[in-house]
Symmetry: D2
Subunit: 344 residues, 4 copies
């Protein structure tokens, strides 16, 4: 049994981490912090955990040494305290955006300010096992992943890895997403009466998660367009790109099968019949799968690729636990077996 | 390892059973039948099970002997074949309404026709562990439970068990429910464009599940009023009753605590602060909990009691697996640990 | 053409008033105030009004004399300024709860504090035309109506008016409602991620709107139980009561038809076939109808009566415009002809 | 007063037509046909029309001569009977896809079969006033418009008209849409339990409505990608294209303003603050507006253009009534003044 604690446990990412870690067979959750809910039972904030834990939120100043420390604070906080946190644990997994980018200049370009501890950026591994499994296995410090970045990286992964698409043609990634992405604090537009029934293209391009796609896949001619829809959990990325001349459906199947075979949480969804023929986020709520699909217009070379994930799981806390499993030398899927629900 | 099979695996109840049994540590799923999806992969119908099983739906004629046989057909079918099914397995758990009522006359009154095998009614135990734990432990044949009946039985259980409410005053149970209750086949009114956004009191009284409340709790002056709302999974029962003279909040707490302590899947939800102060079905999707709450108007003796469940779990397949655990002598909660999600 | 202005135009009630008044054939909207949106175009807050008006929100200090002044502020403000407002217009219609109750003691009981101008309470007529049509026609000052109170008063109106139910038996009114009831400001629980998919019985009894039912219908043994469901606009009240001995379906039909015939915005919905057999709020969005239904269990005398309304229309702004029409001597339905949408 | 009738009045398009025509000041609705609801009151199928009309559905064989005949049947029926219909009315407006395309070969390519009356294709004008206002004014026969085609034609109109985008670069139009598009009959996937919460990219390219965009705008390098989301009414088209070298925001504003000024139902939505900064279909339910927005990445020339409509209004019945107004020489906006609701 390894000990773990969470700094920032009352947000949605922290809550999902708590759900996963409290059921994980190899760890014991020692502490979880929250400023706004200090002293409250964890289940008062995350009501699904009632009768699962009697843990109360504690103050960050009271955090003790553990084997793995998870950071789940709002962006911009962890970088100021990373040295203190490193003194508390040999293994740190940060869910925020503080340590996702390697290059301080690149960080500044996308986040609009200097990084507080640029020398720490190089110490972190980008925490997407489908891209960095081996490095994560050896890592002490692993960054989180952006949920939209993950849907985007996964939607392009088989195509980029196998070199099937033209990288000088523009790649447009259309992302549709649920309301849990706006975080537990929300904003003016997240009032149910304003947010229900929406199809709201709130960010046509320039979203910060784009930086993670550029860094990780080496594509530069890429844009992410974000549209909020009426759903709580889930992201679908639909990518439009051009395949290289001569690429066939057979090539595509081969590339996708390779990725699905290497990665326990990747599935190909491409059915000719039934209701669920393409990847859909609704059936992934609570699961760590990334479902991939694709369709090719052979007359034009236009490929439409799809990736569905649960933004709080594969797009945040699920992947963080997957990283912990790798860092600890455990089975990658441990504690992440929940398959999602149907219907839902 | 015990072997299990499911007759009727393509409906919503059957799909939920498959999800639970495929993850259950003590069982191996041998077969699942479906007439309409014969020969298809289970995951083509229940897309959450992709990469979890390669099982295909088979024909009922091909079912082999197993340790536990689950029946998940539409109402009215199992009673015609019960003898054949009994030849296949020593333990049968039926999710339909065929064997819930003990008295053939009472069955006829509520279902409008004679039971096909009235002599079998007495052989079954009503499968709600919170009411019949001991009998289930000894039983060979266990019936399923109606989802609305379960919400109703559970909402009244602490009050009836402790004798706190007047049984000659009317008990009105207002039930709000999601669209998965209408089954995978649906009906004219279940088209999304007609069913979304509804508050539809489709049955003011006379619902068949009322019979299970009368039989199990011995209350007769009770009515269930059914209102469809915009949700896929979940039921909330809100009961209005009169407490006996002199009953206090202290008495109520004592009665509820007793039930919660005796039953691992019962929780009391009664908070003074936070967002989740009362039982709510949304956080129970996929979980087997029955969340109970109550409020008393001491000036009038009017009690408002609430029970939230997932209709496909505690109201159907979850309770069926809980019964299997008891029948097999296993821990009652085995394979039912998923706590539900927040947010969702 | 009569001139009208609105004090408090940026909330949901104010926005709905603006929509109705800007299309009303007999009035000209002069001004609308907002503190938080001062100087902004009305259509920036109420985006449906883009290209319908170039009006900007003004300060309350700049309001000029008009023929009819609407007050749509949060509760508790209008009573402090009623004399100033009365100097600006001969006719005042207040949508808030400030002037709904006639008796200062009764007001204090339900609102927990003394009324600021108790002598003004008697000057107002309760603004529900179905109860006070003649007085409203003569009135200078008309109060608004609570949305839940309106659903409750309308659900009981045919029964109480015709003397068909026992008033010493308890009357339980179960109210299911949408998120626009919480107002444009919202609260912690109205974040979409928390509010979506809910069935949340947030107030079992004691809701302030109960006072309006007691005052207007003279029933005392009545409780309102409030349950939030996933919908933006709409309220359904389901009332449980006992009919007097000997009351038949024929008596009920007669009572309901009388009310429907006298009131242009009352409809009876009681069909034997089709999808829409009972009153449903979803098809009433934007309309001023109150749809009534009922069902009687003749064996017990238990009546289940239903009333569906749009909380922002018949439950607030629509009724306010209906009152204006009566006060001005116009056709009661003027500017209120929109029938609602199907599907929606 | 002109007389009008509707062949095919029980579907969603027919119901919306009935709502509009029954309130239209210049027309009298004589008849509406329905095979499946023959003899039923219109309000039993379209419950919003209760107390607005006592019309019953009649048989198509009983249709009498009228001034304007609307056809609202499923695709493929009107073309077989067009000569009979033409004998009944001088003016015909067809909402189906039977007469949208001018070239019989092009029709066959997209619909997979020969047109039954190819000689009639040339007699019809494509019924989108924003493209063919003058011809419609003179026309006897006007076709309907595809809802997704309309969102696509409108999203590109300002750009194509002003020649601002490169037509040899691919134009990807991402369409998100509600469940009313699947028609009143629905399909397996439209069961609420399967259709709620979806983000389902059911057609990556090849949708038949593409043909209307190619024909009407003369663009060939265009694809429509269809994604179903959880909403009943509404479509958002998000188009990705490349502007020509040197095109600036000023050019774009000029092009959009020109279109908005010429067309009473076109609005530009492009705000810097507030919740509603971009076009959104939810606030358009029941309205005939097409809301347009755009954003330009000047570094790459990537333009993201948006168009939101109500698929049953601007995308079908609203545009049909707008055409009738033009054909009859009336104000284009007559009977189409409803602005939509907020919140909703």
């Amino acid at each position: 049994m390894k000990t773990v604690s969470i700094i920032g446990g009352s947000g949605y990412g922290g809550g999902e981490l708590l759900r996963l870690l409290l059921s994980h067979p190899n760890v014991e959750v020692k502490q979880a912090t929250s400023r706004s809910h200090l002293g409250e039972y964890v289940y008062q904030v995350h009501p699904n955990l009632r009768k699962k834990t009697q843990l109360k939120f504690t103050d960050v100043a009271q955090i003790e040494k553990v084997d793995v420390l998870f950071l789940a604070q709002p962006h911009g906080q962890a970088q100021h305290h990373i040295e203190e946190y490193a003194a508390l644990s040999e293994h740190i997994i940060d869910l925020a955006a503080d340590f996702r980018l390697r290059d301080p200049e690149f960080y500044k370009k996308w986040y609009g300010e200097d990084h507080a501890k640029p020398e720490w950026l190089k110490k972190f591994v980008y925490g997407l096992p489908e891209l960095h499994r081996e490095e994560i296995t050896q890592a002490k410090y692993v960054s989180g992943v952006g949920c939209n970045a993950t849907a985007s990286n996964m939607v392009l992964l088989p195509l980029v890895k196998a070199g099937l698409i033209e990288l000088d043609s523009p790649i447009y990634i259309e992302i549709k997403l649920g309301s849990s992405e706006s975080g537990a604090e929300g904003n003016a537009g997240s009032h149910h009466a304003e947010r229900a029934n929406v199809i709201r293209t709130f960010s046509p391009f320039g979203h910060r998660h784009t930086a993670e796609v550029i860094q990780e896949l080496g594509v530069t001619n890429v844009s992410l367009t974000m549209t909020a829809v009426d759903l709580v959990r889930g992201v679908l990325a639909t990518a439009h790109a051009k395949v290289k001349d001569g690429v066939t459906m057979k090539d595509l199947w081969k590339a996708y099968r390779a990725v699905a075979n290497e990665n326990p949480f990747v599935r190909i969804v491409k059915e000719q019949r039934g209701i669920y023929r393409v990847p859909e986020p609704k059936i992934l709520a609570g699961s760590n799968f990334a479902d991939l699909g694709f369709e090719l217009d052979e007359s034009t070379g236009h490929i439409v690729a799809m990736c569905a994930i649960d933004n709080l799981m594969k797009g945040a806390s699920g992947t963080a636990v997957q990283c912990m499993n790798l860092m600890m030398g455990w089975d990658e899927t441990l504690g992440l077996e929940f398959p999602g629900l149907h219907p839902i």
